[in-house]
Amino acid sequence: MKAMQIRRIIKKQLGEVLIEHGIINQGQLEKALNLQKERGGLIGEVLVELGFAKEEDIAQALTVQYGFPYLPLSNYEIGAEIANLIPARVARQYLIIPIDKIGNNLTLAMSNPLNVQAVEDVELLSGCSVQLFVSTLSDIKRAIEKYYKGKE
């Protein structure tokens, strides 16, 4: 999926989607937004941290609303040569991890597939088209710890 296409799709904010699905209410969203304003971070993360939503809820919402497939990373083995397609620094900052590469298609798991800039950067970096999967934040973090251990 090309970055340009994603940009067209993203119209609705994640918060609204979650409310529509009945996972959180307006008050919880406002609370989370206020907290996000104060100390940054992503709205999904903040909601999880506040206990208003589960990580899976967020991933699910993204899947349902935007059509990104969900990928539970825990059972997945990633080859070192695939991981090395993206520097550890970039993976850590954007919270992404490459999973597979077939031809000119790079499969990428990320917790926030709405981060278009990150996808663009990966495309620029790898020269590949990026196919996106959604994973939970903790899965991604665990995978990054595992595959980029001790790397800059």
Binding site: L42, Q93, L95, L124
Partner: protein, 471 residues
């Protein structure tokens, strides 16, 4: 001196006059008597023994008279010769004293006069000595004040603090017959004194001296804030004095604290190895002025640093300056990392600007720089930060923009600039820019990494023919 004319009695000396007078009062009457005796007495009476006796005794008596007169004249002559010696300048010569007659009185009077002259002259001499001492003193003061003036003007010229301190120590050495001068600065963290500047023999050795603030040498000075003196009148305990000599290689010293806003920042001292030497009040006062100059220089330096830190804008273009933008870049990178967002840096360098400078005058150069600055600022959004990074170099920090987004804007700037100079008839005056672009996280996560990457790409862009942006 008398001008002698042998034909005139008037011009003869006293002795000559005396001989003439002797002839007149004695020889001539004697000859007349002889003549009378020979013509009128001897023919009648013959030469009798009685007459001969008379004659001889009167000759004898006349001789005594001549001797007496001669003696008187001689004494006069001695007094005259003495007076002549004195008048020729030898005032220490005394007139030989004779028995207390008129000549003796004359001599004594002369002696009294000369002794009075002598004492007057001695007094004059001591006055002139004092005057020359004062003159010397004034000269030294003028000398010192010239030095102080030099120091002040150096401070106001805005040269480095080290240059000022070097001059101060150099000039302080001219005070109080000093062989060395030294300036300690206090290390604020470690509470030690280290040599900041030193002059004179063995200055390399002086530079090696460091001192804890509780060492006995300068402890008193640091605690009391008063001068420290080691000389004939101010003797230190043997142990301390020998320790001082070992380190500084001089016997005497005078040191004063340097205070800035009530805080001790250093110690200025001078020293020499003269025996029986003592420092005067003047020396202390003059050295104190030098410490005040140091304080002014230090304060000046601190203010300049503070102003530089506060300054964020380039004066010509009104853009941010290099210091500010680098700090800002680091901040933006940190924010980007937290927010899982990108952040980009673009360096833009005007092509062939050295050549351009040689073609137009300085005012026109400034005008173009302003124009380009305006064009850049006009092309970016409110959250983007533009800085004049160097003489002909600009830097833009793009928060929240990745490489592609930043590149789009940078390309736009490059094109606009090219367009705006297109109507210049002289091709040398058609200004263009080359650029290098780097991004966090792709190219690094510190300002230094992004800067070095952007610089590298900029250099490549120049090499590849200029007027292009490389990412």
């Amino acid at each position: 001196m008398l001008k002698s004319n042998k034909l005139l009695i008037k011009s003869r000396r006293l002795k000559d006059k005396l001989s003439i007078a002797f002839c007149l009062i004695f020889v001539l009457p004697f000859l007349v008597v002889i003549y009378l005796l020979a013509n009128y007495v001897f023919p009648q009476t013959g030469i009798t023994f009685q007459i001969m006796l008379f004659l001889l005794s009167s000759v004898f008596i006349a001789g005594i008279g001549v001797l007496l007169i001669n003696q008187i004249i001689n004494r006069f002559l001695i007094v005259t010769t003495d007076a002549q010696v004195i008048s020729s300048g030898n005032i220490n010569h005394a007139v030989s004293m004779a028995p207390l007659d008129e000549v003796g009185i004359l001599g004594e009077t002369l002696n009294q006069l000369t002794s009075r002259i002598r004492s007057n002259m001695e007094e004059l001499e001591s006055y002139s000595q004092k005057t020359s001492e004062i003159n010397l003193n004034i000269q030294q003061h003028v000398f010192v004040f010239t030095h102080l003036l030099q120091i002040s003007s150096l401070i106001s010229q805005g040269v480095t603090l080290d240059a000022v301190l070097k001059l101060v120590t150099e000039k302080a050495r001219f005070l109080a017959d000093s062989e060395i001068s030294y300036l300690f600065f206090k290390d604020e963290l470690e509470e030690t004194l280290y040599m900041r500047s030193a002059e004179g023999k063995n200055y390399q050795g002086l530079f090696k001296i460091t001192m804890g603030s509780s060492e006995p040498l300068f402890e008193a000075l640091i605690k009391s804030g008063k001068q420290l003196c080691l000389d004939k009148d101010n003797v230190w305990p043997d142990q301390v004095a020998s320790d001082f000599y070992e380190r500084f290689q001089v016997k005497n010293t005078l040191a004063l604290p340097v205070y800035v806003k009530g805080n001790l920042v250093g110690i200025l001292g001078v020293g020499n190895s003269k025996d029986n030497f003592s420092y005067s009040k003047d020396d202390v006062e003059l050295l104190d002025i030098f410490t005040k100059q140091i304080a002014i220089a230090v304060e000046h330096e601190r203010l300049i640093q503070r102003v530089e830190k506060l300054e964020v804008k380039d004066t010509l273009t009104g853009l941010y300056n290099k210091t500010y933008i680098l700090i800002r870049l680091q901040e933006e990178i940190r924010r980007a990392i937290v927010r899982q967002r990108p952040c980009s840096l673009v360096l833009l360098n005007i092509d062939d600007f050295v050549k351009y400078r040689s073609l137009v005058d300085a005012a026109a150069v400034d005008e173009q720089l302003k124009k380009i600055a305006y064009l850049i600022r006009d092309s970016v959004t409110e959250i983007d930060r533009v800085a004049r990074f160097d003489d002909n170099e600009f830097a833009i920090v793009f928060p929240e923009k990745n490489k592609r987004q930043a590149q789009e804007i940078a390309e736009g700037i490059r094109e606009n600039l090219e367009k705006s100079f297109k109507q210049e008839s002289d091709t040398n005056r058609r200004l263009t820019v080359s650029g290098g672009l780097s991004e966090n996280p792709l190219d690094g996560s510190t300002a230094e990494e992004l800067l070095s990457k952007a610089e590298e790409l900029l250099a490549q862009a120049k090499k590849q023919g200029k007027n292009r942006i490389l990412v």
